[in-house]
């Protein structure tokens, strides 16, 4: 909300500086969003009088003026191009060095066609007061007495505009008086008494327009009271300039007295009013619920359709406007209006908000009613409105017509004042607490440990003890609350991370340590992609997505990562290695939220580096590179990768022949890895070979931590013995089967089996391959004899043959 400093001072008696007011407003919860102080831009310009104006010797259109800028001092010479410059003119003078806001120029002393100009006489456009540039400002010649004074002071423009943000709980501060009350409570001046009315507003004839409330008992709270008064014989002239100036400062366009005064009361008191042209009303006026499909043309010249839960104001012809939101065009006031009906009603905050939202109308009235206007200010508001109509437009007022009764405002709260200290830690004297509560409008009875606090009707947000604590500390000043150290429960900080959190932390740094770059991609992806990656269930679709690209909760992280990788490729980065650690969704329950660590390697992005290199170019990443990522991460997270199984049943978004699943037992899937399926690449519009892995962190078995001490180191001083074997097997045979068989051939002696060669060639036969392994024998008690080694070798061969049907390669 915007208002000017002088307007505030209508209600607040203060000589506090603007800075103090600004600081206090922000501190007490009325955050200042901006202050426009005209004196910043215009304070340098003064009243001046042209004493003499002569034709410039070298320029037809210029005059050389002698200008009095300080009373009694010698004039200065100013060159002026304005046609209206003439002796005796009282205008506005800009000295050398002043910045002219309308032209963006800083005045310098320099000759104009050979004659020095010691400043400038200014037009309204140059001061950004209007578009008028026909000539320089011509003030009343009586202002010649004011030569030398600041123009903004003389013209009444020296009125800073303050803009504050109002939190939704504060209807009282939607009017300047409420702001003044809060400032006074906080010690910035005193609240002036309620102004008395100058006119006798209560007339002696009955209101000729009947007012009725037509609600069922369930909807009666929509508009519990509707007060009106008829004013005969008004003249709807333009509002006085001071009122127009204030409305303009508040961001409103002045229209006519009848419209402007409702806006003024709304801004001044947070009290919206409405004025109908009574001659345009048909029959009696009523508040009721709308009937589905009813239409009316509103003051914004838009046609609105009413719903049957909306509160409308209607006459015999149908709805005229939405109650508490916007009036109707058909009964609006015009300059010709002579008889009016003033409405001052109370509309339910919640229904007003809903109606406004559904109809899509935002108005100053709605802004106030949906926060909750002061229910006790219905009749006083009507009187105030009548006062302004009589003041600005003349006429004769009727008696008030009041349908219904206002809901009761204010609550009685039993308040243990000790709560202030308990909740804030500050010992604010009870007398000060009481003063604050009274200053914001509460009535306080403090004879006893439990105070009885009656809240003011303009504060519907205050209804419990905690609210009162808030009021006290808000006005006392949060900056005055001393910081108090929290108690430490341990001298040295204890570890706090859960197993899952430890894992996430380690996973993130392990993957980054493998050269992958961490991305954060959207949790929602296009439905089509979600379906492709095994998701897209109805319950995971957003009902109101921001776009189809962000429409469905993701079943995994790969779609986002793959698309991100391609975006980078499109920017010229051929080799991309990304990972993300984050959530994906099986269903809409908390348990259905998975935690994944997934990564992609695109192009030649290898662990050791990517792209070309003088020591040998990186090769295109393949299934084994991402298998290494997955295995390394699982290992870093405490899993013995020698014990996991690798199966071939990766999901459909992977290449069927070049992908795998890492699992512990048949049911526990820990990871997928492999080349991405060409159909997936096509769907995501990705070029080039792409590999990916996804690790299900949430599926990992709990960490086993058996004390801190490591098991004793068991090493032998005897040298290990290594023997190589080459087996020829069917192409379909898994190397893993050979390794497993060899490892199990003599568990006591065999300490390791490593595949060091895989070979396919015509010599072996079309459907054969050779796999060479190195078997390490680790004797523990004595050096092995040749005979013993031969015996183990035979066992290895036999075991592998039995498991895979291999033959030993000669």
């Amino acid at each position: 909300m915007k208002f000017t400093l002088s307007w505030l001072k209508d209600h607040l008696d203060t000589d506090a500086s603007l800075e103090t007011i600004e600081k206090t407003l922000s501190s007490i919860g009325l955050e200042v969003e901006g202050i426009e102080d005209p004196s910043n831009a215009l304070g340098v310009f003064t009243i001046a009088r042209i004493v003499e104006a002569k034709q410039h010797p070298d320029a037809d259109r210029l005059q050389v003026c002698q200008v009095e800028i300080k009373p009694g001092e010698p004039t200065v010479e100013v060159v002026c191009g304005a046609p209206n410059a003439k002796p005796g003119l009282v205008g506005v003078f800009g000295p050398i060095g002043s910045y002219i806001p309308g032209t963006g120029i800083t005045l310098e002393k320099r000759p104009v066609r050979g004659i020095d100009s010691n400043g400038m006489m200014l037009s309204e456009r140059e001061l950004e007061l209007s578009e008028d540039h026909d000539g320089i400002i011509e003030l009343d010649t009586a202002l010649a007495d004011c030569v030398g004074q600041k123009y903004i002071d003389v013209a009444g423009l020296n009125d800073p505009v303050i803009e504050i943000a109002i939190t939704p709980n504060r209807p009282d501060c939607t009017g300047v008086r409420g702001v003044a009350r809060d400032l006074a409570a906080a010690g910035v001046g005193t609240l002036k008494p309620e102004p008395t009315l100058k006119h006798t507003v209560e007339g002696d004839f009955d209101c000729p327009v009947d007012i009725q409330l037509e609600f069922s008992s369930q909807a009666a709270d929509a508009c519990p009271v509707f007060a009106g008064r008829y004013v005969r014989g008004v003249q709807n002239k333009p509002a006085p300039s001071w009122m127009q100036q204030r409305l303009k400062a508040a961001g409103l366009r002045p229209i006519s007295s009848l419209v402007d005064m409702t806006n003024y009361v709304s801004l001044d008191r947070g009290r919206p009013l409405h004025v109908y042209d009574a001659d345009k009303l048909q029959g009696h006026i009523r508040a009721r619920l709308g009937k589905a499909g009813e239409k009316f043309e509103a003051l914004d010249n838009k046609t609105y359709v009413s719903g049957d839960e909306m509160c409308v104001i209607a006459d015999d012809s149908g709805p005229l406007g939405f109650g508490g939101i916007i009036g109707g065009e058909s009964t609006s006031c015009t300059p010709e209006t002579t008889n009016v009906l003033i409405e001052c009603a109370y509309f339910d905050p919640s229904r007003t908000a809903t109606t406004g939202r559904k109809a899509g109308v935002i108005t100053d009235a709605r802004y106030r009613f949906e926060r909750g206007v002061d229910p006790d200010f219905v009749v006083p508001g009507l009187d105030l409105g009548t006062e302004w109509v009589l003041e600005l437009c003349g006429g004769t007022a009727s008696k008030a017509k009041i349908a219904g009764a206002a809901p009761s405002g204010g609550t009685v709260i039993s308040f243990d004042y000790g709560k202030v200290q308990r909740l804030t830690g500050v010992d604010i004297p009870a007398s000060e607490g009481k003063r604050i509560l009274e200053a914001i409008g509460c009535e306080v009875t403090d004879n006893g440990p439990q105070w009885k606090v009656t809240t003011p009707p303009w504060r519907p947000d205050v209804h419990g003890a905690a609210d009162l604590v808030e009021e006290v500390i808000r006005i006392y000043g949060l900056d005055n609350v001393p910081a108090v150290p929290m108690k430490r429960s341990h001298g040295v900080t204890r570890a706090v991370l859960t197993d899952g959190q430890r894992r996430a932390r380690r996973a993130r740094r392990t993957l980054a340590g493998r050269g992958l770059v961490e991305a954060v991609t959207w949790s929602f992806i296009p439905q089509e992609q979600a379906e492709h990656f095994g998701g897209g269930a109805e319950q995971l679709k957003l009902a109101n997505p921001i776009s189809v690209e962000l429409s469905t909760m993701r079943p995994g992280l790969l779609a986002g990562l793959l698309v991100a990788a391609q975006r980078n490729r499109n920017r010229g980065f051929d080799d991309v290695a990304l990972f993300e650690l984050g959530q994906a969704y099986l269903d809409d329950t908390p348990k259905g939220q998975m935690q994944l660590a997934s990564g992609v390697r695109v192009g030649r992005s290898q662990l050791t580096g990517s792209g070309r290199d003088w020591r040998g170019d990186a090769v295109t990443a393949d299934a084994f590179d991402v298998k290494a990522d997955a295995a390394a991460l699982l290992s870093a997270l405490g899993l013995d990768v020698a014990k996991v199984q690798v199966t071939r049943d990766a999901p459909a978004w992977f290449h069927p022949g070049r992908s795998g699943v890492i699992r512990l037992g048949p049911k526990m899937v820990l990871a997928h890895f492999g080349e991405v399926h060409p159909a997936t690449l096509k769907l995501l519009d990705i070029d080039g070979p792409t590999t990916a892995f996804e690790i299900f962190l949430h599926a990992l078995p709990p960490e086993k931590r058996k004390g801190r001490a490591r098991a004793a180191l068991d090493v032998s001083d005897l040298l290990p013995v290594r023997r190589d074997f080459a087996f020829v097997v069917d192409k379909e045979t898994d190397a893993g089967a050979i390794v497993r068989a060899a490892t199990g051939a003599d568990k006591a002696l065999i300490s390791g089996v490593n595949v060091f060669d895989v070979f396919e060639g015509k010599a072996l036969g079309e459907d054969k391959k050779s796999i060479a392994i190195e078997v390490t024998l680790q004797p523990s008690t004595k050096t092995l004899t040749d005979a013993e080694i031969d015996k183990v070798s035979e066992k290895v061969i036999a075991a592998v043959q039995k498991a895979t049907g291999a033959t030993i390669r000669g």
Binding site: L423, E470, G513, R571, D588, W614
Partner: protein, 362 residues
């Protein structure tokens, strides 16, 4: 044999040794001198035909000669070995200006938001806060109702909150059962209070979602919630906690803060907190960093705790915003763009694990 003859042999051999340029020629000299048929070995063979007294003196002289020649041979061998190594090394020259690859520890990056989360975890852990978590898909009961946000509150409208399919306010679902994407991390307050007896000290980081997208808003972003519930914690503790956090996080000895009264449905009193931008080297302006307050008694009661007994504070911070402020990142939207150039520039090395002892940033 005369002593004079031995001297001649010594002189001749010494000359030959000194004249050797290669280890091979030196070995030839050794064979000619000390080999089986060498000159000094020949002298030894003469001993057998000598008279015993003569034999003793001659033997000693020949042995002395042998020792001396062996010594000279060793010395020369050492010199020649060193020379040959030097010659070889002189030819073994690599172009050490060729570039090398830095390896994966230099290539990988941690996203700034992850890094800052680790920093914040360190700081709050030291103040005794554990880390709580909650799901992204919440019910309107936890996300709104129990946080004292009534059903007609603007925040619950479709233009602010993402609803899951079939859960819109206009759909026929009971209030409290609607599925929403959490709009803040505050529902973790509810989950924590429902599942844990006070005293409670937790922070809860995570993704949150709002139907908003422009230059400074993204439909998904990160928050960190803080919650303390016990029987004594008050507003003064909240101020201390936030001041300590800001000093540790921005890594400055002093930080000027401003606490402004505000309004949130789930706290009372509520306050917004500004930090003097001097903390990030830009003095003279206030930066709004978080909203906070004492947990509303209704919220405490909504979690089955007695608000007459238990009290405490809560705060919510935009994690992305803190990250941007601290590390000078200009545009929120880049956080989620997965642009390699951005991540390499603003990201952190995997070994840069923030700890209290080493400091937050590197």
């Amino acid at each position: 044999m005369e002593a004079e003859a031995l001297t001649t042999i010594e002189t001749e051999l010494a000359g030959e040794i000194a004249g050797c340029d290669t280890l091979a020629s030196l070995d030839d000299v050794r064979v000619r001198a000390l080999g089986k048929k060498g000159r000094i070995s020949g002298l030894m063979q003469q001993l057998g035909s000598m008279a015993p007294d003569e034999r003793k003196a001659f033997g000693q002289a020949v042995n002395a000669l042998k020792t001396q020649i062996s010594g000279k041979l060793d010395t020369r061998r050492g010199e020649l070995t060193a020379k040959e190594l030097a010659n070889r090394l002189a030819t073994e020259r690599a172009d050490i200006t060729l570039p090398v690859r830095l390896g994966p520890l230099s290539e990988g990056r941690i996203h700034p938001v992850s890094q800052v989360f680790d920093e914040i975890s360190e700081i709050f852990a030291d103040m005794g806060f554990a880390i709580a978590e909650g799901p992204d898909i919440e019910t309107d009961d936890y996300n709104f109702e129990r946080l004292n946000i009534p059903s007609d509150h603007p925040a619950r409208q479709e233009h602010d909150t993402f609803y899951l399919s079939g859960s819109l306010p206009s759909d026929d679902v009971g209030d409290g059962m609607r599925k929403v994407l959490r709009t803040h991390t505050s529902p973790v307050q509810i989950r924590t209070m429902l599942n844990q007896k006070p005293p409670i000290r937790v922070i809860a980081p995570g993704r949150v979602y709002r139907s908003d997208s422009d230059q400074t808003h993204t439909p998904m972003f990160h928050q960190i919630e803080g919650l303390v519930i016990d029987e004594v914690t008050h507003l003064g503790h909240l101020k201390w906690c936030l001041e300590e956090f800001c000093k540790a996080f921005f890594e400055v000895d002093e930080v000027k803060m401003r606490f402004r009264a505000s309004h949130f449905p789930f706290t009372e009193p509520s306050m917004e907190v500004d930090v003097d931008a001097a903390a990030i080297g830009k003095p003279g302006q206030w930066l709004e960093i978080l909203g906070s307050g004492m947990v509303h008694p209704k919220v405490i009661a909504n979690c089955g705790l007695d608000p007459e007994k238990y009290q405490g504070f809560a705060f919510g911070v935009g994690l992305d915003r803190l990250t941007m402020l601290k590390y000078g990142i200009p545009d929120l939207r880049d956080m989620f763009s997965a642009d390699l150039r951005w991540m390499k520039h603003y990201g952190f090395l995997p070994m840069d694990m923030p700890t209290l002892a080493r400091g937050m940033s590197s």
